[in-house]
C-alpha cells in the first residue's frame, strides 16, 4: 500500500499501536507492520515527527530507558490520548461502513 494512503491516518495508527502498551519508535513501526502483514509502507523515520506532534498535543507521554548501552525513548498513551483513540475508532468505523455501503 502506498505511503499517500496513510496521509491523515498516521496519527490514528500510531495511537492504536501504542494502545497495547508502551513502545519505542522501532517497536511502534514493527507493531504496525505485524498487524498489517507488512502492507503499509512508510519511511520509518517519519514516525518521529508525528510522535513529537502527538506528544506536544498531550496525547502521548514519553520517557528515556536504556536498551543495552543505548538510550531509548518509550512512548505511552495519556488519558487524552486514550479518549482521542476511542473517538477516532468510532469515526473510522462509521467512515468504513459508509465507504463499504457505497463501493460494495
Amino acid at each position: 500500500m502506498r505511503a499517500e494512503v496513510l496521509k491523515g491516518h498516521l496519527d490514528f495508527l500510531l495511537l492504536a499501536a501504542i494502545s497495547r502498551g508502551p513502545l519505542h519508535g522501532y517497536g511502534i513501526v514493527e507493531a504496525i507492520s505485524e498487524r498489517t502483514g507488512g502492507e503499509l509502507e512508510l519511511a520509518e523515520g517519519t514516525v518521529y515527527p508525528a510522535l513529537y506532534r502527538l506528544e506536544g498535543a498531550g496525547l502521548l507521554a514519553s520517557s528515556w530507558t536504556t536498551a543495552g548501552r543505548r538510550k531509548r525513548r518509550v512512548y505511552r498513551l495519556t488519558r487524552r490520548g486514550r479518549a482521542r483513540l476511542a473517538r477516532e475508532r468510532t469515526e473510522w468505523k462509521t467512515f468504513a461502513g459508509v465507504m463499504e455501503a457505497v463501493t460494495a
Binding site: 519508535g25 520509518e44 515527527p49 525513548r73
Partner: protein, 158 residues
C-alpha cells in the same frame, strides 16, 4: 553505515536550526531505531533519507515552539491587562482619575495618554489574532513556514 547516516542527519538538523537537547533527542532515537533496523534487515534504508527526516522534524519542532510561544505571549498579555485594570482601579480609589493633559509638558501628556489607550488595544488585537490562528491550526501536521511567520509576528506585536 549507521555513523555516517547519523552524521548526515546531525548536519541536516543543524542546517535547519535544530540544535542542543532537541537534536540530541532526535539523534538518540534515530540511533536506537537504526541499530534495530540493521540487526533485523541488514540495512537502514527503511528509515528514509536524512534530509527528509530532518526537514519534517524541524517543521514539527518549529510548529510546537511557535504555538507554545503564542500561548505564553497571550498569557503574559492577559496578566498585563489584569495589572492595568488593578492599576487604574487603585488610582480611581486613591487620588481620583489622573489628568495627564495637565502635565507640565502637554505634548508628553498627550503622548502618554495615546500610549496608554492605543498600545494595549493593538497588543490585545494582535495577541487575539495570533492565538486564534494557533488554535485553528493546532492538532494538525506541521504548519507551513509562512503561517508560522504570521503567528510569530502577531505574538511579537502583542
Amino acid at each position: 553505515m549507521i555513523e555516517p547516516y547519523l552524521a548526515d542527519l546531525a548536519r541536516e538538523l543543524k542546517a535547519r536550526g535544530v540544535r542542543g537537547r532537541s537534536a540530541a533527542r532526535v539523534l538518540a532515537e534515530a540511533r536506537d531505531h537504526l541499530v534495530e533496523l540493521e540487526r533485523a534487515y541488514g540495512s537502514i534504508d527503511r528509515f528514509g533519507p536524512s534530509e527528509r527526516i530532518a526537514r519534517e522534524v524541524a517543521a514539527q519542532l518549529a510548529t510546537t515552539r511557535t504555538f507554545r510561544a503564542t500561548y505564553a505571549a497571550f498569557a503574559a498579555l492577559a496578566l498585563t491587562a489584569a495589572a492595568y485594570l488593578v492599576f487604574f482601579a487603585s488610582i480611581n480609589q486613591g487620588s481620583g482619575s489622573p489628568d495627564l493633559f495637565s502635565a507640565r509638558h502637554e505634548a508628553v501628556g498627550v503622548a502618554v495618554t495615546i500610549g496608554l489607550v492605543l498600545f494595549p488595544q493593538i497588543a490585545f488585537v494582535a495577541g487575539c489574532l495570533a492565538l486564534f490562528r494557533a488554535l485553528r491550526l493546532r492538532g494538525g501536521s506541521a504548519v507551513s513556514a509562512e503561517e508560522l511567520l504570521v503567528i510569530r509576528r502577531r505574538a511579537a506585536v502583542a
